[in-house]
């Protein structure tokens, strides 16, 4: 066994690397969170699919509904586009929130999470860093949908300011919702089951809403659900912010729904996070 010359491990270098017994001081909570945020950005760079594979459906729906049913539903495709685009924006970004739970679960099943847990850093830093990455993903996806809309003829009456406020409200809602996926990410066994269960919540959550059509024409029992669905309230508020006519009540109801989600899911999530296994 004379494999010494083909062994790529350089023993001399290894000894000198190991000789360094330098122990840097523990990083601050902010620095650790930002480092995890950097990791999330690197993932977007290396796996840009995570932005596209869930947005491709909303974009297809946008094109399909606008050109196939737009004329029938709203009189003209252009009028329908004004109506449906805010809803599609919500659908897209809400869909992307799924990845928060899937990514966390992937880290857990791959053992990366164990390594993070054994580091001398502020415990919630991985979650805080993931939030930074999420902000980037949500903003990129929003930009994509809005730009596509503008190209197709979307003309928000409240202009850029209205759109910006609408996106901010959307981000607040999505951050709050992502606690639910984080919870599932900690609870379920595999990334696929996280994806599956999230989709089971997400499909009725987005389709049984006022995204595509006015609930006026729906049967009473369905309308009852659509009317309490927080996604409907979010869509209404965002339409109002983009086209005018938003009421304080509409915004407050979105903020309330967000607060309820955080108050409900965040404590359980943090408990699971601290006490996993």
């Amino acid at each position: 066994m004379t494999t010494t010359e083909t062994r790529p491990v350089a023993e001399g270098d290894l000894r000198s690397v190991l000789a360094s017994r330098n122990r840097p001081a523990r990083p601050s909570a902010l620095s650790a969170s930002l480092t995890f945020g950097w990791r999330a950005l690197l993932k977007i760079k290396h796996v840009p699919e995570q932005l596209f594979d869930v947005t491709v459906f909303p974009v297809l729906f946008l094109l399909m509904f606008t050109y196939l049913f737009g004329g029938a539903l709203a009189g003209s495709t252009s009028e329908y586009l004004q109506w449906v685009l805010p809803g599609i924006l919500v659908m897209t970004v809400v869909m992307i929130t799924l990845y928060t739970g899937v990514a966390l679960n992937t880290d857990i099943t791959k053992g990366v999470f164990d390594r993070f847990k054994s580091l001398p850093v502020w415990r919630p830093a991985p979650l805080a860093g993931a939030l930074l990455g999420d902000a980037v993903r949500y903003t990129l996806a929003s930009t994509m949908v809005i730009v596509l809309g503008l190209v197709l003829g979307f003309r928000p009456e409240n202009g850029a300011g209205g759109v910006l406020l609408a996106v901010v409200l959307l981000l607040v809602f999505c951050y709050s919702l992502s606690w639910l996926w984080t919870l599932l990410g900690l609870l379920l066994r595999t990334p696929n089951s996280v994806m599956g269960v999230s989709m089971m919540v997400m499909f009725p959550g987005t389709f049984l809403s006022n995204i595509f059509v006015d609930p006026q024409t729906m049967p009473g029992w369905l309308r009852a659900f659509v009317d309490v669905n927080p996604v409907s309230h979010l869509v209404t508020a965002i339409r109002g912010l983009m086209h005018g006519g938003v009421t304080t009540g509409q915004i407050v109801s979105v903020l309330m729904a967000s607060a309820v989600m955080v108050l409900l899911f965040a404590p359980i999530t943090m408990y699971l996070y601290r006490n996993r296994k």
Partner: protein, 330 residues
């Protein structure tokens, strides 16, 4: 006890961990001196991983106590965490990042500046023969490269005590040799290594002392040579050319080895556990002398199964393929 605490890397008494109905670790006592390699040998499901996850503060014990480098693993978990590192059984590097990004990330999380983290990363990648692969995504790494990166990730800050959980399981012999080199370099640098393995051979190669664990409890502790002496040096497998000669071969082997000889399912094959390898040459000589034509023989290292059979009287229940040092006579 306080007088010796400074020289002990690990002292655990009666550690217990229960998962539902499974007593994964059922009263483990362990004393590991500082410096050198300590081997932790056991079949799949014996409780190796659970034990070292408790010692590395990733799991809270349900019973018992342990001090690691003089610190209590429950009350002083943060201190322990700062002094040890664990390389898990399955590589825990981030597949969607490059090798370089993985290490820089950890460097930053340990508190290095960006510049220091980059320098440390480059040093590590160079030392582990990964400099060329620095900018490649880890998902494109081979198993051996991944394992090396994983170990490098555990020494971004050089630990005082390193847990290596089955670091060579599933690696090809060359990658396994590289991991062994790394372990030896770690020890030369002053780090204590606790290494779990399913191979007696590996413990024999690396460990100064070792413990054998089964069903969550330590069944024997000692130096690898002590263990090997207790177990015997391995099993002789003989295959005769003509099955008709097997009876005669069996008689001759019993005579010269003075141990029981087993008749294998293969009508031409025999096997025997031997205590003294020197007798094997003599026994083979006797066969040839008597005109028994041997088509194949092999002297296997004692497999984990044989270790268990010798130590506990029952075979290891789930048992991965053992290493066999084969010699063929044809």
């Amino acid at each position: 006890m306080t007088a010796t605490a400074g020289n002990l890397a690990i002292e655990a008494s009666n550690l217990v961990k229960v998962f539902g109905a499974t007593r994964a670790v059922n009263g483990v006592d362990l004393t590991v001196p500082s410096g050198g390699v300590y081997g932790f040998l056991g079949p799949n499901g014996a409780g190796k991983t659970t034990t070292i996850r408790m010692l590395a503060t990733l799991l809270r014990p349900d019973g018992g106590h342990a001090r690691v480098l003089g610190h209590d693993i429950v009350r002083e978990a943060d201190t322990v965490r700062g002094l040890v590192s664990l390389t898990g059984q399955f590589a825990s590097v981030d597949e969607e990042l490059t090798g370089l990004e993985n290490l820089v990330l950890l460097g930053r999380l340990y508190g290095y500046s960006w510049a220091q983290a980059k320098r440390r990363t480059n040093d590590l990648l160079g030392a582990f023969g990964l400099a060329d692969a620095a900018d490649r995504l880890v998902k494109h790494y081979s198993g051996g490269m991944r394992r090396r990166l994983d170990i490098a990730a555990s020494i971004v800050v050089t630990p005082e005590l390193m847990f290596l959980d089955e670091p060579t399981t599933g690696l090809d012999p060359r990658s396994r040799n590289q991991v062994w080199d790394i372990v030896r370099a770690l020890v030369a640098g002053g780090t204590t290594v606790l290494l779990t393995t399913q191979y007696l051979d590996e413990a024999d190669q690396l460990a100064d002392r070792m413990a054998v664990i089964d069903h969550g409890a330590i069944i024997v502790e000692g130096t690898p040579s002590e263990l090997k002496a207790a177990v015997g040096s391995g099993t002789l497998h003989v295959r005769v050319h003509d099955p008709a000669q097997r009876d005669e071969a069996e008689r001759l082997l019993i005579e010269s080895l003075r141990v029981p000889v087993h008749r294998e399912a293969d009508p031409a094959a025999l096997s025997a556990r031997v205590a003294d390898p020197a007798r094997v040459a003599h026994a083979l000589g006797e066969l040839s002398h008597a005109g028994v034509d041997v088509s194949h023989f092999a002297l296997g290292q004692p497999s984990l199964d044989e270790v268990f059979l010798a130590l506990t009287g029952h075979p290891a229940e789930t048992y991965g393929a053992g290493e066999t040092a084969e010699e063929s006579a044809a």
